[in-house]
């Protein structure tokens, strides 16, 4: 066998491999059918009036989802905003509020209660965007949006380039301290698909967090989102975030 022949065979095998299809491609009709087949679109509702900053949600999230408890990264966190009468805005989130807020000292400043105009807590988590920039920039297809609108990461395929972390305007992504792949809130995918609610929603004593299905008009969360005044974070990025906030202040970052 001469080289030419050999190369031809290799070329043929390559073409064959391509034809067999390493990848599954769906015909447009097929894909449409799949999208319609899902009658679930998960969305989250946060009431910033109700949140007291106890941090039980952060604690529950870390323990439920196996993020090393003392690692300074977290899938969800709670921020505190203290807006003073002189216009200063103080904000912090010590340890992501894993241990709650047990001191009035904010950003290192002892605040006199008489100086406060308003102050509140804002829980944060992945917005499970309709147009997730993190997914758009993944070079290998290791992160993706499911039919139910939830963005997941494939821990066996992520190469750890960090581009998705850079692309997220909300700062919800980080590298898992043990697996060293991109990590993010999954809305407790394993719970909500098995009839449970998310760990953070369950842990919240004050009903500040709720999760619901946007495609179900009778879902209480959907009703609030549809009939009351809600806001989302940083919609100027065109990401179409799906975590809705009641009482979101203009000072919230």
């Amino acid at each position: 066998m001469n080289r030419r022949k050999f190369l031809k065979i290799i070329g043929g095998m390559a073409a064959g491999a391509g034809a067999i299809g390493t990848f599954r491609f769906l015909a447009p009709g097929e894909a449409e059918a799949l999208i319609k087949s899902s009658n679930i679109r998960w969305a989250f509702l946060v009431d910033t009036y109700k949140c007291v900053g106890c941090g039980m949600c952060v604690k529950a999230c870390k323990l439920e989802n196996g993020i090393p408890y003392d690692a300074p990264v977290t899938r969800t966190w709670v921020e505190r905003y203290v807006i003073l009468k002189d216009g200063d805005v103080l904000a912090d989130t010590p340890k992501g509020a894993r241990d709650g807020f047990t001191s009035p000292v904010t950003e290192g400043r002892q605040v006199n209660p008489a100086d406060i105009d308003k102050a509140f807590f804002v829980p944060k988590l992945c917005n499970q965007c309709d147009k997730p920039p993190c997914v758009q920039v993944c070079p290998v297809g290791a992160t993706y949006r499911t039919a139910q609108g939830i963005v997941l990461v494939d821990r066996t395929w992520c190469i750890g380039c960090g581009y998705c972390i850079m692309a997220c305007p909300y700062g919800v992504r980080f590298f898992h301290p043990v697996y060293h792949t991109a990590e993010k809130c999954t809305f407790c995918y394993h719970r909500i698909n098995h009839g449970m609610t998310t760990a953070c929603v369950q842990a919240c004593p004050f009903d500040a967090r709720k999760i619901g299905n946007l495609k179900d008009p009778n879902d209480p969360v959907t009703k609030v989102i549809m009939t009351e005044r809600v806001a989302v974070l940083k919609d100027e990025y065109g990401t179409k975030p799906q975590v809705y906030y009641i009482g979101l202040d203009r000072n919230v970052r």
């Binding site: 300074p72 989130t93 944060k124 290998v140 960090g162 997220c168 980080f174 990025y237």
Partner: protein, 421 residues
């Protein structure tokens, strides 16, 4: 529980209000990466000057620049690999490329470019390979056998050394050298796109980014080639002085000196031109941001004019742009002055990469807090090695080591004196 570490924790210092998951995720390796690809592109452009535009006096330089750019090219993915949390999965980029990501283009653009350079080298050295195979035929021993086998593989079975065949080689080299220039520019422009398209980052997001990257790539590449050229010519002059009495065929000292100064003056004009272009683009970007002053300008201003003032205005613009620019346009440019100026230019381009990559992460997504990159100097684990001073030095030195070995097989360092010309 498993042992764990948080990527970025060791070299990030946070200030004021920063989201908990924010760290300097892209550190010194990502500064090195565009610097390296920039040098690749610049070196290649220089070698193309000879092949495409027939700059005769660049003949030896062209070979050197071509092989050197290949060595740099082999080094270019290393900062990326060192930066990946799962380096061994890096090749997934070839298997399941996701083309909505700027990074996924890396696999294809890089391969295309690497192949163009490799094949240009092949065409340039084909005659040498064949000669080598014939020369080694007579030699005995395992070493010679293996060496001959290697050169036989390198010939790819093309032993035809007829005038017609060699002329064909020349033609193909010209085509490859021509095609390679836009591909090199693309390789680099897309590196700029990786940053410019990150809409979450206020400093990076500008359509000017790819153009700025290409311009500074050409600047750094030309500067590096001028510098290496000067170093090599100085070495030649040194040899010429030493050998003046003994080797009659060798080029004379004065001859070399004249040729060197002439070429340096010529090239420095290109350098000045590209420097003006790069500088104006960056200035335009800055002025535009200040004038439009959108929401993120407050935080950008405090980064640019306060926190990173020295890095941006003193190190990058003053030492890296303005001073070398003045040195270069000042009349009666001497070789020594040019060498000093090009070294400053290289430093300036490094600072520019640094200020983009690290500067872009030095403020928080909250627009209300800051992060500082504290480069790990003495490593105490793999992470602090990779993302610290030693990792950066490794990346900077490796291409020279590659070049050393490649040069053993494919001699590319210009021979001393004029005996080859």
């Amino acid at each position: 529980m498993h042992t764990w570490y948080v990527h970025g924790l060791e070299w990030t210092r946070k200030e004021l209000f920063v989201y908990p998951n924010e760290y300097i995720y892209w550190s010194i390796q990502i500064v090195m990466y565009p610097l390296m690809t920039g040098l690749v592109a610049g070196a290649f452009v220089l070698s193309s000057l000879y092949h495409v535009f027939g700059q005769k006096d660049l003949k030896d330089m062209a070979k050197f620049a071509l092989v050197f750019s290949f060595a740099l090219l082999l080094g270019a993915p290393i900062p990326l690999m060192l930066h990946l949390q799962h380096p061994l999965r890096g090749f997934f980029i070839f298997f399941t490329p996701h083309f909505t990501s700027a990074i996924s283009a890396f696999g294809i653009v890089y391969m295309t470019y690497a192949l163009i350079v490799a094949f240009e080298i092949w065409f340039v050295y084909r005659v040498f390979f064949v000669q080598q195979v014939h020369a080694l035929e007579k030699k005995e021993g395992m070493g010679a056998f293996l060496k001959r086998l290697m050169y036989r593989v390198f010939t790819l079975g093309a032993y035809d050394l007829s005038e017609k065949a060699v002329a064909k080689d020349k033609k193909v080299i010209k085509i490859l050298a021509g095609v390679g220039v836009p591909v090199a520019a693309f390789l680099h422009g897309y590196a700029g796109f990786i940053f410019g398209s990150v809409k979450a980052n206020a400093l990076w997001m500008t359509p000017l980014m790819p153009v700025i990257f290409i311009m500074s790539a050409v600047v750094s590449g030309v500067a590096l080639c001028m510098l290496t050229y000067i170093v090599i010519m100085e070495w030649k002059k040194f040899r010429a002085v030493k050998a003046r009495s003994t080797t009659p065929g060798m080029a004379r000292y004065e001859q070399l000196k004249g040729a060197e100064a002439d070429l340096i003056r010529k090239t420095s004009r290109y350098l000045i031109f590209f420097m003006i272009f790069a500088f104006s683009l960056e200035l335009l970007d800055l002025i535009f941001r200040g004038y439009t002053a959108v929401k993120n300008w407050d935080i950008l201003r405090s980064v640019i004019y306060q926190r990173d003032y020295v890095d941006i205005f003193v190190k990058q613009y003053l030492i890296g742009n303005i001073i070398p620019f003045l040195l270069l346009i000042w009349p009666r440019l001497t070789v020594r002055r040019a060498a000093f100026a090009t070294a400053l230019v290289l430093f300036g381009v490094y600072m520019m990469r640094y200020n983009v990559v690290i500067g872009g992460q030095s403020f928080s997504l909250t627009f209300a807090g800051f992060m500082d990159y504290v480069m790990p100097v003495i490593p105490h684990n793999m992470e602090t090695f990779k993302e610290g001073l030693l990792g950066a030095l490794t990346v900077a030195i490796l291409p020279f080591i590659f070049f050393y070995f490649i040069n053993k097989v494919i001699p590319a360092v210009p021979q001393s004196g004029g005996e080859k010309a």
